[in-house]
Every structure is written in structure tokens, then in C-alpha cells.
Symmetry: C2
Subunit: 414 residues, 2 copies
DNA sequence: TGGGTTGAATCACGCCTTGAAATAAGTCCG
DNA sequence: CGGACTTATTTCAAGGCGTGATTCAACCCA
């Protein structure tokens, strides 16, 4: 079962609606002719399906192209104000809730701080509730309907079938977040790991745009990766794929906070980089920095000192080797380095990272891969979260998801 | 474009034929009722489509189930003698050609040795030609048609659109193997990497059976892996994914024959294991063994000696760490360790490998993964190669592939 | 032998995509 | 300014498909 999305003649229409909707969504305004030529659908069908979509208010005309001797082509685009969607980022220090239109342009936003040092699931749920009320305050009853709520959380999310969150760092153990949120909203919920949503944001709007096999490496205090294969996030059998940070790059090496040894994170995670630096020099500017972000910035400001130089070069080498592993295993078109620390470090170290990756990767796949920094910055989690309902919307050919079936993906596995 | 396999109402039928055919092929004899209940197709459609398949000679009745008070269910199965298929294994020392029926039971086989030390593409092509003539000698003109030829080769295979082979070890550089074979056969050709075909054999008939996300690790003289995601082999953007052997497990570590340092292959490949042993002890039984296989066997026979024990334990640790990396990145249901050296080493080292993998992998994904040895032995490459045409056949709902479109897979990429 | 039960085939219906033909909306040129 | 031409879009009839309801088939049990 599962897998199969087409059985009746009616699914055919849904599939073709989805196809055209996707083209228009990602391909900007296009004429019917463009659609005819790039989809191998017949002109009759394109015309027919588009008429449907226009009638449903999902597609609107957007001017016309200069005539080239005949009837001019009319441009079409997705009606971005037809629907709104909510994105939520559950971070370590705050919950952020944003409202978007269908194009994922921000319409409203609010930040709700969490008490420092640990937070419980009910606290998070309460913040989400408040945030929702805030951003939805201006929504008119007759206005655009809400497509759903996408939520990026730290930790592994399992859908079985309700989303349950396992967070190693925050001590969440099988938190039934979906059920908890269900108590105050009937909107479709799409809950996924924050790294995945962040990666999806880079894929849709950032450095991964236009590629289909890409790994978004996320370097923050910890290290993760979002692997996109064949255009959609790869989750593995139980949604915990992409744990790049805990792959071993040094058998028997440095102790990692996960308990293992030689993990990549123990060399390139911001926490580790700072710790390694402070092991060699006692630099007050770094040691006494108010938070990790400023500590790393302070370290980078010292980049000319021998101690900093050594640690940073070693960091670049390890990032490069880790990237090489991704290249060898996934053979992606692009590697996007993101996360706040990744962006901070990458700014100066990218050439060295590329160089090391070239040394450690096989020649052929390396030559097929572009290594770049992320475009979006770390606040893209909310936007990425909002892509989840939109993706489902596009997959369904523009029919709104029913609450009971709302899940981020056709979860792999049997 | 690409991706899309359903547009017209006719593709629907093909898709449903494919669905039922697949169930019957992998699920053994099944009744129409079984199909109705497991596919969510209507009874009418199952009946109708099956009638089609029976008329085409692809499905036959296979007895009936005991009645339970009403009309008994008739069992159906794929008619394994309806079509034949050829599998070819291009190895380092010989070309093996085998003829199979649709169930991939061997009907004929032949081995054609290659001159030791390097072989050219024309030589290989000539062997394949001879082998084909041999195994097809007994085929009657009116008998089962040939579905095609599946070929497993060493090296990276690119389809662009004709299969071109890049072999790092044998010096093949962009060899247009498909075009060369096309000169003496019109049969559909399906060329892919031998590790991939081997992995597919384990997936269809061996230790990977029934799973959808599995990594088949192949340890021979060199080291590779065949990654299966969502039920089909993952190839990456240019078909060179799964280069597990050259992932770095020791930054700045042992020199590898690929030119890099600290590659997994430099620790666990048979060649490296033997070399590392001989670096510590000069053991004539190992040093003077006629080939690598007997050398490794000789080393294993010495497993009680301190020197061998040290090397073997270190090998197990590195295999375990490598496996842990696969688990962390892919979160598979199973890891299957195969390849001749993998089977040889695994026989004794599997407990230690599992133990190390547990240490190095994250707890959650590790607990979801079963680590086993391969079931099939190293000669499964031909059978795996033969799965390629069969897979295409099943995907096409039982219509024979046309020559010009014969390619192993819906190649990833845009 | 005949009622009961379950499996399989048939049929009318509604929906789908398609190629061909018709229509719409421009340009070009005299 | 108007007719010929060109290109885009829509309309239409035809051919297919899966489905639910109905009918037919095959077996059990008494």
C-alpha cells in the first residue's frame, strides 16, 4: 500500500494538478505554453487543469508576454494570498511563531522566551498557543484559510501516527507534542526536526535552490545535517537519519558529549572548538564571553594568533574531511554549510574546507559537488517549518489537507 | 518531467499491473482476495487486471485454497517460465554469464577467464559475446522471450544516455560499454556497478529481504556499499554514491591507495588487513599465499596469535565504527555485511563489530538496526545483475522494455 | 438435493487525458 | 484600415480506466 499514490482515474487529476501547481510555485510566472512544453502534458489538459485551479482561486493570471506574431501567452502564477500558513521554531531559548502567505512571505511574527536551563513540553505548548493567538489576531474570518502549522523542534520526531518528539539535549522522551497541541487547535500539524526544516528552507529559497540531491550541513553548538535526495528530505527508517555530527572521523579520538569518541562534533561543533582553544590558551575574551556565539566570534577575532590559527585550521580540516565523507556517501550536487557556527566559521575557512574536502574525497564525486555557505542565516527555521504544510498542499494538488492525515512526509518504512 | 510516471489514463493501468505483478512476484502465490485487501484496489479492478495478466501469459493460476464455506480462492503466481533473462558479472579475473528464468533460477552458466593483470574493454565485450552465445545455445526460437541482459561491472556507471563505465582500478576511462555491446545484440542492456547489483541480490533474495532502507556493506580487497533507500538503490546525482570505503575514519591516518589518508578501506579492506598484519609479523603462510583470499584465510587461521589478534581486533573496531557511521547517516533497518572478505571476517568478528558499532553509533538509530552477514556469498553478482531487467519489467507492469529506453533506473538528477 | 456463503466476473457510470478542430487574440503588410 | 497570417487557448468527441452494484460461479453443510 503506502507508496502508491495513484489508483483511480481521479488521482490522475490530482497528480496533474500537483505537477502544474509545483511548476508555478517554484518556477515563477509561467505561461500555459511553458507548462505544456516542460510537462509533456497535452495542451488540452493543461488548459483544463489550469481552468480548474483558477476557479479554485489557487492560480491567477499575471499579465501577458509580448506577442511574437500570434496570440500572446498569458502568464500564470500561484495566488500567494489564497492561503496562509504558520511556522514555528522551538529553539533552546525561545519559541518563535510566524505567519506567512503561500509564498512564505512573513505577515506577522512573535517571540516567546523560554526560561533558561531546561524547559518542559507543556511550557513549550503553552508558548505555541500564545504565539498562535498573537499572529492570528489580525486574521479576518472571511480571509484566507490557514493551511496548517509547521513546527521545527530539536530532537528526533517520530510519526506513529501522531508526532512524538525525542530530544536528547532537552531531556524530552517520547513527548506527544501533536496530541498536546491538538487540545487547542484543529489546524493540520506538521512537526519535524528543526535541522530538517532549516534544510528545506535552504532547498526552497536558499543555496540549495534548484538542486535535487543536496546535503545541508548544520554546524551550531552541535552538528547535524539535512540530507535531500531526489528532491525530498531523507529520513531513514525511523526519522533519525543525517546524524552527521556523530559520525566517527577519528577512531578512538576525542570524547564527545554523546558518549562516543572521535565524533565529528567533538572537533567542529562550536562548543568543542571553543573548548579546544581554551585548552591551549586561557583567553579571557573567549572564556568570559556571555554566550557561545560571542565566544566564537571572539575566537575568530584572534584568528591571527598562533593558538587560534591552529585550532581553526584543525577545525577546517575536520569540516573538510566530514564534508568529504558526505560527498563520498551521498554524491550530492551541492553541500551547503549552514548553522550559526557554520556561517561564522565558513566565512573565513571555506577555501581551506574546500581544499581539505578535495584531498579526502574521491575525485569523481568531488568534481560533481559545489560546496557553498548557506544563504539564509539561522532564523530560517520558521520559514522552513512553514514549507511543510505548503509541501503537502502542493503534493495534494491544491486540496487542503484533512486534519487526521496531516503528516510531514510519506514516512519511509514498511 | 522525469519523475512523473503517470499522466494518461493508460499509465494508470500500467501502474496497477505493476503493483499486482510486484505483489505476486515477491509475495509468492496469492489469491485475488489477498490482492484486493492489500492493495486497496477494488475487486473489479483486481479481477480485470489479473485477467489481462493471465491473457498475456505473465500470471498463471496455482491451485486453490481450501474453501471456508464458500467458493475457494484461487491462487495466482507469476509465470516464471514466461521470460528468460541474462545476468553478467564482469569480475577482475573472469566474466561470468548466466541465464535465468523470471524467478531468477539459474538455467545455464559459463565462465570466461580474463588474462591476468589488466584487461581491455574489447576483451570484456568479446567474452560477453561468447558467453551469451553459450548460454543462449539451448534457447528455442518459439520459447520464452529474453527480457534483457543485466551486467555488473567494477567502477562507476553513468547513463548519459548510453551506459559509460569509469573504472578506477582497471584503468577504464569513459568506456562506452553499452555501445560496444550493442554491436552484437539488440537485447535491452542494463549496466550497473557490481556492488549495486550484488546489493540488489541481497535485497531481493538474501539478508535484506523485506526491508526498504538497508545498507549492504561490501568488503573485498576494496570496500564499497550499496545503499537502498525507500526500496530502491540510491545513486546520488552522478551514480557514484555509496563510496563507503573512502570515507575518512581517521583524519590524517593511514595512506590509502586512493591517495587520501585515513580511509576506512585502508583499515578494513582485505589488502590492507593483510598488509598491516605482515607489517608486524613476517608470516610465510600469509605472505606466500597464492591469492588474497587464501592469504586472509591463512591470517584467520592464526587468529590465536597475538599479532593476528591485534590486527583482527583493530579491523573489527574499524568495521564497527564504519558501520556506526552508516547507521548515524542513513538510519537503516538493516546493515548487511557482504563481500568475500566481509563474510570471511564477519564469521568470527561479528559480535565485536556489533559491540563497536553500538559504542560509536547513537543509541536510537542503533537500536533500530539489525546488523547481519550477507546470505548470498560473492557469486550473487550475476543474479543481482539479472534483477535489473526484471525490476524494469515489473515497473513497466509486465510490458517488455523497448531497447532504446533500457536503463537500470529512473536515474536521479534533474 | 437445496439453502447458505464466499469468490470472481460483468456492466453501467462517471471521470480522465488526448488529438483534432474551432476559436481567440495578437502581428504584419499593403 | 482590413485581410492574411501566426500563435495561444478552448472545445469536443473518442477511447480508457476504476468503481460499486449486480450477477454468476463454486463450494460447504445438512
Amino acid at each position: 500500500m503506502a507508496e502508491r499514490n495513484l489508483q483511480t482515474v481521479r488521482d490522475l487529476r490530482r497528480s496533474n494538478r500537483s505537477l502544474l501547481l509545483r511548476r508555478l510555485y517554484f518556477g515563477g510566472p509561467l505561461s500555459r505554453q511553458d507548462l505544456i512544453h516542460t510537462t509533456s502534458l497535452s495542451a488540452a489538459s493543461v488548459s483544463n487543469v489550469i481552468a480548474d485551479l483558477i476557479e479554485d482561486g489557487l492560480v491567477v493570471e499575471a499579465g501577458a508576454l509580448e506577442s511574437e506574431g500570434g496570440r500572446p501567452r498569458i502568464l500564470l502564477r500561484v495566488n500567494s494570498s489564497a492561503l496562509h500558513v504558520v511556522g514555528v521554531d522551538v529553539g533552546e531559548t525561545r519559541v518563535r511563531v510566524e505567519l506567512f502567505d503561500l509564498d512564505l512571505e512573513q505577515l506577522a511574527a512573535t517571540d516567546l522566551p523560554l526560561d533558561a536551563g531546561g524547559f518542559t513540553a507543556p511550557e513549550v505548548a503553552a508558548r505555541i498557543r500564545t504565539g498562535l493567538e498573537t499572529v492570528l489576531a489580525d486574521e479576518r474570518p472571511g480571509g484566507p484559510a490557514l493551511l496548517g502549522i509547521g513546527i521545527g523542534v530539536p530532537g528526533v520526531v517520530q510519526h506513529s501516527p501522531d508526532a512524538v518528539v525525542h530530544g536528547q539535549t532537552n531531556g524530552w522522551d517520547a513527548v506527544p507534542l501533536e496530541r498536546m497541541l491538538r487540545e487547542f487547535t484543529d489546524l493540520p500539524l506538521f512537526i519535524d526536526n528543526g535541522a530538517v526544516t532549516m534544510g528545506q528552507a535552504e532547498m526552497w529559497f536558499g543555496a540549495g535552490r534548484g538542486s535535487r540531491n543536496t546535503v545541508v550541513a548544520l554546524i551550531g553548538s552541535g552538528v547535524g545535517a539535512s540530507v535531500v535526495t531526489a528532491g525530498s528530505p531523507y529520513r531513514g527508517s525511523t526519522s533519525s537519519a543525517g546524524e552527521w555530527g556523530h559520525t566517527t572521523v577519528q577512531v578512538g579520538g576525542r570524547r564527545c558529549r554523546c558518549g562516543s569518541r572521535g565524533c565529528l562534533e567533538a572537533y567542529i561543533g562550536a562548543e568543542s572548538v571553543i573548548a579546544r582553544y581554551l585548552e591551549t590558551v586561557d583567553d579571557p575574551a573567549v572564556r568570559d564571553a556571555p554566550d557561545e556565539e560571542s565566544a566564537l566570534a571572539a575566537l575568530l577575532a584572534r584568528a591571527d594568533s598562533p593558538a587560534a590559527r591552529t585550532v581553526l585550521d584543525d577545525t577546517a580540516v575536520h569540516i573538510g574531511a566530514g564534508v568529504a565523507n558526505l560527498i563520498n556517501l551521498f554524491n550530492p550536487e551541492r553541500i551547503v554549510i549552514g548553522g550559526w557556527a557554520g556561517l561564522l566559521l565558513g566565512a573565513g575557512l571555506l577555501p581551506r574546507i574546500r581544499e581539505t574536502a578535495r584531498e579526502y574525497a574521491l575525485h569523481h564525486p568531488f568534481s560533481q559537488t559545489r560546496i557553498t555557505l548557506g544563504d539564509l542565516g539561522p532564523d530560517a527555521v520558521t520559514r522552513g517549518a512553514a514549507t511543510l504544510p505548503v509541501d503537502r498542499f502542493l503534493a495534494a494538488g491544491g486540496s487542503r489537507p484533512r486534519v487526521e492525515t496531516a503528516q510531514p512526509a510519506p514516512a519511509a518504512g514498511r
